[in-house]
Symmetry: C2
Subunit: 210 residues, 2 copies
DNA sequence: ACAAAAGTGTTAGATTTACACCCATGA
DNA sequence: TCATGGGTGTAAATCTAACACTTTTGT
């Protein structure tokens, strides 16, 4: 599962199934794990094949293994999600077979992929509150508006702007880049980056980001 | 992974490995998933074979699939943990091949089982704070001392008694059974049960138990 | 000058933490 | 009567939530 933010909307990359029983339905990306390849390596390979990116945030979520979930026979799927900065993605098959879809507009997917998607979303929502994984969805330099919007769209909630800023600055993990965005037709926002180095030193302290 | 409380200590059931490379070392319980059996069904089967119990709390945690983790060849392990009330367990092989071990006294396990164990413990510690899964480790009727001790031993922390009671009563999910323990050489504690029915109605509200 | 989003503090309420004494039972 | 753990309340500190006006830019 490849998640990204497309125009401030929480989205996932889907591909049209070429499997006869589900022809033309949207499905998640996947492939078979090779015998001489670890699960993580397979996940990175599949991701890289599809997006051209190779250093990404990946988390294994769950294995799905009911007996008749795939019409071709017994298939066990080990689900991972990746968080990507959508601007850096070059879709390898960028005809209409491979598309970003907004999470809240997804209807029926092929196979048991709705269940897998829901499970991954729940995991991400959990994770994003206590670890700074959401930053993988943004460029390295971002505004506080970007950051707040990320949490709002992924969690499907709205946040108070002043409280959000206070809380996030309170972590001491934002680096003021002394730069501003430009070409916006309103007061330009300051740009920040996230201090991953400092975070790695203090991450045992159970931080809450929102 | 089968977790239980043995004399108020957080423990896990281990078996002596009969695999040549790890002969005599302790390892986690496992078995092969049959082709016509779901992952969950396999987990329940293995558990029931070992403990004689069949209605238990089980959670899938993670799949482990590095290439050379098992000397016999490519093996992918899908880890689950179960929480059992140790008093109800009848060990099927209760010679010295199958034993409860206190978590904090476990040394080196066979295969990559230390890593699997650590991952499961982390998951359980996370889960237990926001869902009432810990109650599966206790008998149906318990004292507040039992309950506090459960959280303390699983999380490896100490808690203030008055605050713990206040917090837990605050959930409104404890049923006063109007009974007391007996044959203790101090003031007997009241017995409670957990209101799972009520919990299921309100579980969306994101409760924190400690 | 106007429209749009950026930036900024204070206060009330809720939650969390720290802490000490009397009570009921069995030995 | 003694030892052991059960049961109980309050106050300070911290955290969370609610809320409105001025600033800076492009058009």
């Amino acid at each position: 599962m490849i998640f990204g933010l497309q125009d401030y909307n929480f989205s996932v990359l889907l591909i049209k199934s070429d499997f006869p029983d589900y022809l033309g339905q949207w499905s998640l990306l996947g492939d078979i794990v090779e015998v001489d390849e670890s699960l993580d390596a397979a996940a990175y390979r599949i991701l890289s094949d599809r997006t051209g990116l190779d250093s990404l945030y990946l988390e294994q979520v769950k294995s799905f293994g009911t007996v008749n979930r795939h019409p071709a026979g017994r298939v066990i799927t080990i689900a991972y999600y990746a968080l990507v900065n959508i601007d850096q993605v070059r879709l390898v098959k960028d005809d209409n077979e491979l598309h970003w879809h907004q999470i809240d507009q997804i209807d029926r997917l092929a196979f048991d992929h709705n269940e897998i998607l829901d499970t991954c979303i729940r995991r991400l929502r959990d994770r994003i509150r206590s670890e700074p994984v959401g930053l993988n969805l943004l460029p390295d330099e971002f505004t506080l508006r970007d950051l707040q919007s990320l949490y709002e769209t992924v969690l499907g909630i709205t946040l108070d702007r002043r409280n959000f800023r206070k809380k996030f600055f309170g972590t001491g993990l934002l680096i003021d880049l002394k730069k501003q965005e430009n070409n916006v037709r309103h007061r330009p926002a300051k740009l920040y980056s996230f201090d991953f180095e400092k975070y790695n030193q203090i991450k045992e302290e159970s931080i809450h980001f929102i």
